[in-house]
Symmetry: C2
């Protein structure tokens, strides 16, 4: 089962373009905080705050060795979000399948001599 | 190719729990604006605003017949978001595959007489 808060936290975290860019960068491999901060026109502290949000909702993790903090993607971090999208699609597909069955039923029960203008009735 | 703005608009739209709940409801079938507004403790105008955001970024569409506006899910509306997640996962998997190959190479070139404590070197 999905934890509502996980989906909510992931969507909120990734609605921010800088945080999405950080996740894009880290899905290609680990990076230090300095490396991650380099392309952004913002303070180091602001980047650290974004990293804390991402780490807080389980999208990344970080480890400090000596004075260097290295960040990595959390392999299962995107799962709640991917599951949410997959569930919406599953619901839609089930509906389309049902619609297809109704159309097939209407088609097979149709009298070939009858008018072709018979409207397909709601279930 | 992904349009950056599509992904951005979708994440922003779905970071709001009410809008996510509306998409959840509509993935099960079409609904009128009144039906959609009923479960929420907010003004009808506020719900209409949320619907406009969702329609603006292509997640839903609506049609007015007489005085009744009916909303439906846009079947391909979640595609940019699903693609973004799939791309991140593809990047991660490629990395893990590469890591697996490096480990396999290290394993096959290992001298069986040598110490088992030989560390696996970085690429």
């Amino acid at each position: 089962m999905l934890k509502y808060s996980d989906v909510d936290a992931s969507f909120r975290a990734l609605a921010e373009p800088t945080r999405r860019a950080i996740v894009e960068r880290l899905s290609g491999g680990p990076a230090t905080v300095s490396d991650l901060a380099a392309p952004f026109d913002m303070s180091f502290a602001a980047v650290v705050q974004h990293l804390q949000v991402l780490e807080g909702c389980g999208l990344i993790r970080s480890e400090k060795v000596g004075r260097v903090r290295t960040c990595r993607i959390e392999p299962m971090g995107l799962a709640p979000l991917a599951d949410w999208v997959a569930q919406r699609r599953a619901f839609m597909e089930r509906r389309f399948d049902r619609l297809g069955e109704l159309l097939a039923e209407a088609d097979s029960s149709e009298d070939p001599q009858a008018s072709t203008q018979t409207p397909i009735k709601d279930k």
